[in-house]
Amino acid sequence: MSDGLAEIWRTGLRNRGFVIGGIITVSFVLLAAIALIWTPYPVEEIVVTRRFQGISSAHWLGTDQFGRDLVSLLMAGAVNSVAVAIVAVGLGVGIGVPLGAIAAARQGWLDEILMRANDFAFAFPALLSAVMITALAGPGAINSIIAIGIFNIPVFARLTRGAALVVWKREFIMAARVAGKGPLRISIEHILPNISSVLIVQVTIQFALAILAEAGLSYLGLGTQPPQPSWGKMLNEAQTLMFLAPQLAIFPGVAIALTVLGLNLFGDGLRDVLDPRLRRER
């Protein structure tokens, strides 16, 4: 397998989207990781005397209306975004993929029920249902994670089922059945490895969407609660100060846009890199 990975890596380096998107994504995650142990200034430190400062060597991106360092806030906000996205996408993969795999393996009525339930979940606009859930269950980081996670489940269930059905028709699955393997074992040993590249690509795309959704919810005041920093909340707070200190809205906005762009580029690049048809032709 290491040969395969090395080859994927070599192909990846030739793909512009993969490289640029990868760099953006990695630096974003790295920034969040650093923020866990160190930020230039303490995030919760309110120093009224140094509020609304412009760009300077002490505060690279200036300070906000409470005198907090914007770089530190953005770094801490990245932690929040990454955490929410990881858990929410994890929830979607953890529940959606098994559901899709079971539906594909079993067919029949179970498949019908699972997929109709999926359609039902799909029918609601994702962000709207997240708003509804957080509105019902009360605002907060945990609830917003769950809300975002729930709308990830049908995405992964449907994708898994579709991709798995294609693999189920291949003859090597028939060979595995002749070998006496049951549907569960075939799903784990044959189906999932063969659809993993499709799933990985979808994970990067859902990751971007989750970050966007979290920012949206926090912007509406339904997500992360103060004093925890979040990009969406920063945008919300900057809104009223738009003419006073536009940089307070611009920098979180750029952070969100850049991250989503980076993840999408990375995902698109990854799709091309992992596609064996493109890889083999070289």
């Binding site: 003859e171 060979a175 595995a176 002749v178 070998a179 006496g180 393997k181 064996p276």
Partner: protein, 285 residues
């Protein structure tokens, strides 16, 4: 013709396999289609039994049903006297050792993410889960050797092999449990002529060397004619003619068999349709 044999290795009795089609209207009665319609035949140990027919005649469905991969609507499949569909799941799993299958598409029948060792050893995973790595490797090596591959090929991936070699890998996978019956569904139709001959020779060689029994399914009459002892001709889910291969081919009784044999192109330009036609038009003018 049939020598009195104590027991055929494979008995298929009145096998019927139906598929449910979509209803014509929302409340109409369910429609079903009989892909295999009351098929019966016996295969004696050590013999090679061919099933020929054109696409859609039900021969592949028959193969999968014989393998217990599809449930028949009625009828029985007996392997060494044991009814495949009456057995409990566990017993069926251990009976699988006795009958294995080789598929048509050498590109689709091997999992691209597995190394050859794991592909060939797959039937053992269920049968002998306690087999040690070393023993497993040894058995895979020996089996690869018996199909004309090198034991070292076990460490390679399917995409490193040509079509003919892949089909050898697939045959090795079927052989590793030391089965008595191999069901081969169009095993050479995806291969080029020269490679096809290599694989057919391997199959014939295995049969004489290991006393294997083959159920050989093909649309290619010359292949079936060459390698089988007995043959059944299928049309629209039913067997229309059966008998010793040379007899069926030299003296076909059923009109369908006759038209099938008559349609096979013969590599002899003196019988060409061009010459026939030129001669015909010359005669007219």
């Amino acid at each position: 013709m049939n020598s009195p044999n104590p027991q055929p290795l494979l008995q298929v009795e009145n096998l019927v396999r139906e598929y449910r089609l979509p209803r014509k209207s929302l409340f109409g009665p369910p429609v079903s289609f009989r892909a295999v319609n009351g098929v019966s035949f016996n295969v004696d140990p050590g013999k090679s039994f061919g099933i020929v027919g054109e696409s859609g005649c039900g021969k592949s469905t028959l193969a999968r049903t014989v393998m217990g991969l599809e449930q028949p609507a009625s009828g029985r499949v007996l392997l060494e006297g044991q009814d495949v569909f009456a057995l409990p799941a566990r017993a069926l799993r251990s009976l699988r050792r006795k009958f294995q299958m080789v598929f048509q598409d050498p590109y689709g029948s091997l999992d691209p993410r597995f190394k050859v060792e794991r592909i060939v050893a797959e039937p053992l995973e269920v049968l002998l889960p306690d087999l040690s790595r070393a023993e497993r490797r040894e058995r895979v090596g020996a089996t690869l050797d018996s199909v004309g591959l090198k034991p070292a090929d076990a460490d390679r991936y399917p995409h490193e092999f040509s079509g003919g070699q892949r089909q050898r890998v697939a045959i090795a996978r079927a052989l590793i449990t030391e089965p008595s019956l191999i069901v081969a569904d169009e095993p050479v139709s995806a291969l080029d002529v020269s490679v096809q001959a290599q694989v057919l020779n391997l199959i014939m060689d295995l049969q004489t060397r290991q006393g294997l029994t083959f159920l050989f399914i093909s649309h290619d009459l010359s292949v079936v004619r060459h390698i089988t002892d007995e043959v059944a001709v299928m049309y629209a889910g039913e067997i229309v003619e059966t008998g010793p291969t040379h007899q069926v081919f030299s003296d076909p009784q059923h009109s369908y068999t006759r038209s099938l044999i008559g349609a096979v192109p013969i590599p002899d330009p003196r019988r060409s349709r061009r010459l026939k036609r030129t001669a015909g038009s010359a005669g007219e003018s």
